[in-house]
């Protein structure tokens, strides 16, 4: 994990004081709310329906026990005893007092955390594969590059007043667990034929009201030129992105309206100019210096098979279920990656109480080399657990209602905060997620359905990523009543696709039944359990689903 040195500590401390000064000017009336808004957003402070919300950056979703305990402490002392993990691998507190924000930021700074650029029209928290450093299929640790990008983008003097927000994600495996193709910049670490490290680069992906899949502009960018190239992309966007309409201001619209070939030429021209001056070309020593922070922990040499683990699977049905869904293969024999579901049936997706955070911190410290990850699917991950220890971890999680064996299943739902919290929302998201989870609560039924991602957004801004849900649900307001529009066939992985609207929307009362109809239709038409919902939809198209949904209409 990256650790602050004196420079980083002073940087964050100065940022806390800068923001304290801005808050004081707002509270004294020197700044109007309009003047203050862009300043507070730059530091993750939103004014929501009921209170201020503070969004805390968790760079590329990596936490340790000390940080997680501090988040638990903040939840208890300054909020209502819980926090909400987001699809950008961040954490939100929803019941914050503005005048307490500087103190919270100071408490965060003590554990090397901050809220810088978690909102506003700037480069947001860089996200990465939540299995980084543990996944069996990765060729490098993507967090090395995410950290380099985080530093470069922090209070960047040229790119702090962009047309709109700007999101970057990094993966280092063919399997895309970070949805890179729906980011403004998506980076895949790869090796060329000569064995050199570099990046495939996509630009102009994004969700929101105009969802678009990113376009590949580089098949191989040399590792050393990562920052030169990103600076070029950002400069082209900053100068040419639309500023006349906030809904057309993302990079995706510029790419779409200008054409990817022309944008790629503009980026390359800018890149050549930046690269020629060499100021951002990364020295190998600097890459190595950052990489050292992400060196693998001291894994033990273990047999690939753990008899304690196998015995527990044989003994306990609930443990076997947990392993099936929530334990992923680790690159090191004898270890596993444990997903902690924050989607207990009936609970708000992504929420964790202070007590749960503390328990997970304890488990991380004891069993996972002190590491915890936040996934963009709003779950937590213990990345490095010995197979021998997983039964004990499971038992401890189960006591805290954290062992729901539903990772990737129909009840592992992504939902935005929706109208329960958010001033932008048109409809509630969390209660719909809760009701769907309750309808499909039977774990045997979930297993039979298999991998199925439901994603719910409470408005067109798509914070719940509904466009890339296998089943996407969008809340809309129709004459003061909440309605839900369903899209099918979206996917945020390496086979990225945008879901198609299946037909007219459903009322809040109808929407859970509609989801069930879709699921039953899939079960009826699939070629077998090996054909997932997404594969079946891609084979069948939406016609049979539409027919089943609207047959009586």
């Amino acid at each position: 994990m990256y650790r602050y040195d004196e420079f980083d500590r002073q940087f964050v401390a100065e940022r806390v004081e800068e923001f304290r000064d801005q808050v004081a000017r707002r509270l004294s009336g020197e700044l109007t709310e309009d003047e203050f808004k862009p300043l507070r957003l730059m530091n993750g402070v939103y004014l929501q329906l009921h209170a201020y919300m503070l969004r805390i950056a968790i760079p590329y979703g990596t936490l340790n026990s000390r940080k997680l305990r501090r988040l638990a402490h903040i939840a208890r002392r300054y909020d209502r005893g819980f926090g909400h993990f987001t699809t950008r691998q961040n954490l939100q507190f929803n019941w914050i007092k503005l005048e307490e924000v500087p103190e919270i930021l100071k408490e965060l700074a003590e554990v090397e955390m901050h809220a810088i650029q978690t909102s506003g029209n700037c480069i947001r928290n860089v996200s990465a594969d939540h299995f980084a450093g543990a996944a069996a299929d990765e060729i490098a640790d993507p967090r090395v590059y995410a950290e380099i990008l985080r530093q470069w983008s922090s209070l960047h003097p040229e790119f702090t007043f962009l047309p709109r927000k700007f999101k970057i994600a990094v993966v280092a495996a063919e399997a895309d667990r970070a949805a890179i193709q729906v980011h403004d910049i998506g980076l895949q670490v790869k090796r060329n034929e000569a064995g050199e490290t570099g990046f495939a680069v996509w630009v102009g992906g994004g969700l929101g009201r105009t969802p678009m899949i990113g376009r590949k502009v580089r098949d191989f960018l040399p590792e050393a030129e990562l920052l030169s190239y990103c600076e070029a992309i950002l400069r082209v966007y900053n100068m040419h992105g639309r500023r006349d309409n906030k809904y057309k201001a993302r990079l995706k619209i510029l790419v779409h309206e200008t054409g990817v070939d022309e944008i790629a030429r503009d980026i390359e021209a800018e890149y050549e100019d930046i690269r020629a001056r060499g100021a951002l070309t990364m020295p190998q020593e600097e890459i190595a210096r950052i990489r050292a922070y992400f060196a693998p922990p001291a894994f033990a040499e273990l047999p690939a098979r753990s008899s304690a683990f196998e015995a527990a699977k044989a003994d306990s049905r609930s443990f076997a279920r947990f392993v099936e869904r929530n334990v992923a293969p680790h690159r090191v024999p004898g270890y596993g990656i444990v997903t902690i579901s924050l989607k207990a049936i009936g609970a708000p997706p992504g929420d964790a109480t202070a007590e749960q955070m503390e328990l997970i911190a304890d488990l991380a410290e004891r069993y996972s080399f002190d590491e915890v990850r936040v996934s963009h699917e709003q779950n937590l991950v213990l990345p490095h657990v010995r197979l021998d220890d997983i039964p004990a971890v499971h038992a401890a999680l189960a006591e805290a209602d954290l062992a729901t064996p539903n990772a990737g299943l129909v009840t592992d739902i992504i939902a935005c905060p929706g109208l329960d919290y958010c001033s932008l929302a048109n409809a509630r998201s969390i209660p719909v997620a809760q009701r769907i989870a309750e309808r499909f609560a039977d774990i045997e039924r979930q297993k039979e359905i298999g991998e199925l991602k439901i994603k719910i957004s409470g408005c067109i801004n798509a914070c719940g990523h509904h466009h890339v849900g296998h089943i996407g649900i969008l809340g809309v307001d129709r004459k003061g009543e909440e309605f839900y529009q369903i899209t099918l066939g979206g996917s945020g992985d390496e086979t990225c696709s945008i879901g198609e609207i299946v037909g007219k929307g459903f009322s809040s009362d109808e929407v859970v039944g509609a989801v069930e109809t879709i699921v039953e239709t899939y079960l009826r038409l699939r070629e077998g359990p090996q054909e997932t919902f997404l594969s079946a939809f891609r084979r069948l198209g939406e016609a049979p689903f539409r027919e089943a949904l609207y047959a009586d209409a």
């Binding site: 420079f7 002073q10 100065e14 800068e18 530093q151 790119f159 400069r235 951002l280 600097e286």
Partner: protein, 174 residues
Amino acid sequence: MALYRNGSFVADDPWRILGADEALPAEGPVALPKARFIAERDGLAGRNAPLGVVIEAGEGLDGLEDDINRLSLVVLTFPKYTDGRNYSTARILRERFGYRGELRAIGNVLRDQLRFMLRCGFDALEITHEGTIAALRDGRINLVSLHYQPASRDEAAPPTAGGHPWRRSSAGRL
């Protein structure tokens, strides 16, 4: 309105910034809107006084490439402080074209953006916002002084840089 240049407020501004239709004075330094500058370029060449140009946010440098190094003033506008386009223009002027003349920001120039502007190569700020003028006069500007990336102005690495090639410090100045 006050002009803050190279670290302090200056009382005398020799420049006349002309609109599209204002008559050209017989002598003295003048800055013209970009389109007018290009249209009157040939006539201006014989003028025995410093020349400047005013570039609105979004206009960019196209068409001015060959003129840049005979300019003594470039004025970049910030119609709203959230319009960041001219931060890029400033850096391109300084870094790609090696422009060494005065680079002046006008418009919505506010205290929380000052250091970003200076780092992008501005050396003069025309400020109308009274609170910002007062804060600068009283030294009440509270901005992060450490930076993770190189920009346009010459900046030293801080003592705590730790070998990092891009760390910079604005300690001791705005």
